[in-house]
Symmetry: none
Subunit: 203 residues, 2 copies
């Protein structure tokens, strides 16, 4: 990992390798602050204060508040990578890009972190709240609203039902034939669902 | 619902059949033990001890640990009740009947047992296996196959993704606007998805 900027402990003792002991405290503080205040309410400054770390370390380690939020969720990729893969392209293919990106991201991990995430969400209201915030910000505001401003929160939540359920069946339950289906097979079957939730009629 | 067993009032009046007052304590103890230790960790002996009941009563009432687990999952209705609600009627309305039945069943519980179920499935391979078997038998064989013999396992698994995801979002994450949506709103939005998975083209 990068080790450019010394953390407070390093400054105190003057011999620790740079910054490494500031990342985990930031993550722990971020989980607590996002859970307590939500994504909008939490501030980088306050998270850094709680961690006893300079606020510049958030950018150093994570690149910004959104990336810190996703890191706090233990996603295998950061949100800007997801958005870069999902957003560019034809509006009518957005559903397909979401499904394909989801499969690409989670296939690389074998799905274990998704099991952990779902367990957390089902066990802890604070994790559930983080996930709600993720859907409300990343999915509803960044992905759905630009293509479908009307009822974008309902559309995002509907997309959420299909995506999280696909994750449960493929990676957690490992139910066949979906567990072993190719990306093309899953995209062909599921993308029309997302596309209708995104841009189709809901009533 | 599934309630052929006389309640406490009947017992007080002396109409109790042998052993009936051991079933509910076993279920309560099983829920506590499965929740605390997961499916693998919980033992029939310990469950029986917690219930203050002879361990042989587990086989008597449930047939074994797996069946006890399914009973402890606390499906608010039994499978034959679900099938009675879902199967009769127009083939083209099957998706709508599934969504409406799912909402009716889980709304009565406030969704807490669904959270327990999802946590178990995400934590324990044996619980996941039980759930796979449930989908493979109840959903694929009993509901999907009669209306769509071709690719009925894929169709059932796809239905599973949408149903379990709807449950996660509405009852576990409690994400708005789906958490508070009326049954009609959810059915209108989601039933076409299930109907396509059941009887539509998948490629």
């Amino acid at each position: 990992m990068a080790d450019a900027i010394p953390g407070p402990a390093a400054r105190r003792r003057g011999r620790r390798r740079a910054g490494e002991d500031t990342r985990e405290p930031l993550l722990a503080a971020a989980r607590a602050e996002f859970a307590a205040r939500g994504f909008e309410g939490a501030t980088v400054r306050r998270i850094a204060e709680r961690a006893g770390v300079d606020a510049a370390m958030v950018n150093h380690w994570f690149g910004g508040k959104e990336q810190l939020f996703v890191a706090a969720l233990d996603f295998p990729v950061d949100i800007s990578t997801i958005l870069d893969r999902v957003l560019p392209g034809d509006r009518d293919e957005l559903g397909a890009r979401i499904v394909r990106t989801f499969l690409t991201v989670w296939d690389t991990t074998g799905g274990a972190p998704l099991g952990t995430l779902i367990r957390s969400v089902a066990s802890h209201e604070s994790a559930a709240r983080l996930m709600r915030e993720f859907v409300a910000t990343a999915l509803a505001q960044r992905i759905v609203r630009p293509v479908a401003p009307d009822r974008h929160e309902m559309r995002a939540a509907l997309c959420g039902t299909q995506i999280i359920g696909l994750g449960m069946i493929r990676y957690v339950l490992r139910l066949e034939p979906i567990a072993s289906a190719t990306h093309d097979e899953v995209v062909t079957a599921v993308a029309p669902t997302l596309q209708r939730y995104l841009t189709g009629p809901l009533d």
